[in-house]
């Protein structure tokens, strides 16, 4: 094992970020049905938790998760999400970084916690529905998505839902992390891959 943060780590970051992004993208496509949009912070991390846990088990150095979160932010921005996504991604990435570091990148329990904190970046995708963005964002949606859709969305998303979503992210992340840990134990540890 290399001592320093090296090229090997960057390649691991690339491959796993790709996998993570694809899973996120598939789940996000569900988000078009209004009720799924609200539940996405819960459903997303559950599915994402599985590849994420494998990724965490490969992490040995500080900084890899931050890089992942920055790349996700860039890709999300390119695919048309508003700029606050950068703040959310980087903050979530850094928190996770420190959580994993606390366990010296080996503790499975802290990996599960990390899976929960990392999924907080999803809030960056939905922030536009809430607070000061809310009025202007929905106004801009009326022409794009039609009044019916906007009304449905609005009825699902009063401000307090945002705080529920934080909770949903964390709970979803925990469930996903536990599932991931189970899958790792069942398939990967036996095969000697981690």
């Amino acid at each position: 094992m290399e001592k320093k943060f090296g090229i090997r780590d960057l390649i691991t970051v690339g491959v796993f970020t790709a996998l993570y992004f694809v899973v996120t993208f598939v789940v996000a496509c569900l988000g078009f049905v209004p009720i799924f949009m609200v539940l996405m912070p819960l459903i997303g991390p559950i599915f994402n938790g599985i590849p994420l846990m494998l990724y965490f088990s490969k992490i040995k150095h500080f900084g890899m998760i931050t890089v992942t979160s920055i790349i996700i932010a860039i890709l999300m921005f390119i695919t048309g999400h508003p700029y606050p996504i950068f703040i959310f991604c980087i903050v979530a990435g850094l928190i996770t970084e420190f959580v994993l570091r606390a366990g010296k990148y080996e503790s499975i329990k802290l990996c599960v916690v990390g899976s929960a904190t990392f999924s907080l970046w999803l809030l960056g995708m939905v922030i536009a529905f809430f607070f000061s963005y809310r009025e202007s964002y929905f106004a801009s949606l009326v022409d794009g998505y039609g009044q019916e859709y906007v009304d449905t969305m609005m009825s699902y998303t009063p401000d307090w839902v945002f705080f529920t979503m934080i909770l949903m992210c964390l709970v979803g992340g925990l469930i996903g992390g536990l599932l991931g840990a189970k899958v790792l134990k069942k398939h990967f540890r036996k095969a000697g891959m981690i």
Binding site: I7, I11, G63, I78, G80, G146
Partner: protein, 239 residues
């Protein structure tokens, strides 16, 4: 650092600089993702759906280009003329179907084009010219390299499952996800190892300045396109 990506296929037709491709991707992504169905923005959307068509033609994916064009045109016209006339549940249904296709489709197609037409070497060089740090450039180039592989892996897994009649009926979604995700994750680990070995062999880890023989640079076509894209984005944000 040619890590198995298709070498540039856009011979003769027209060859764009990776930076131009990025500009196209961002513009199409933003306009299609959050554009409205009326006025100036609708016109911009109509222009935007032509972009993937032309791009796919230029890499000789004729069939996909035609299918994409017909589908996208149909959904966008649907958005412009049918949605305002309907209401209630029908409206919501059409909205969702059209929305998924027209919002994600063009961005996905442009992304596909970028992956098809850019060699890893070209991509890394372009990123270097834009002064992106290596920490971001290398993972991103690995991702570009990995997306097509992921698609192939998924197709193989799908075939294997079909052959053994697994997952025909989805009883337990989690088992289903597990059947698909676990093999993909296994191969992901394998690919990560292979790529690291390959890149070490190619001397990526030495920390010296990278050399390259690929020929990238902004031609008048590139400059023109970037100006047009910037103009479109400006129009988009003003209205």
């Amino acid at each position: 650092m040619e890590m198995g990506l298709k070498p540039s296929t856009a011979k003769g037709v027209f060859r764009l600089d990776p930076r131009t491709k990025l500009a196209l991707l961002i513009t199409v992504g933003i306009i299609m993702m959050s554009g409205k169905y009326t006025g100036v923005e609708y016109t911009l959307r109509l222009i935007c759906i032509c972009v993937p068509f032309i791009l796919l033609l230029s890499v000789r994916l004729y069939k996909s280009a035609v299918i994409a064009a017909v589908l996208l045109l149909a959904t966008v016209l649907c958005e412009g003329f049918i949605i305002p006339k309907t209401s209630g549940l029908v409206n919501l249904l059409i909205m969702i179907v059209c929305g998924v296709i027209s919002r994600f489709g063009p961005g996905y197609l442009c992304g596909w084009y970028v992956v098809r037409s850019t060699s890893v070497s070209e991509f890394v060089t372009a990123m270097e010219r834009m002064h992106f740090p290596n920490v971001i450039t290398i993972p991103m180039s690995v991702m570009f390299r990995y997306f097509p592989t992921l698609k192939e892996e998924y197709a193989s897994i799908h075939d294997a499952m079909k052959m053994r009649e697994i997952g025909q009926s989805i009883k337990n979604p989690f088992t289903h996800v597990e059947y698909i995700l676990v093999p993909i994750m296994m191969s992901t680990v394998q690919i990560a190892n292979d790529l690291s070995a390959a890149s070490l062999t190619k001397g990526l880890g030495t920390g010296r300045k990278r050399t390259h023989i690929c020929n990238i640079g902004l031609t008048p076509v590139d400059v023109g396109l970037i100006v047009i894209m910037t103009g479109m984005l400006a129009l988009f944000f003003i209205f």
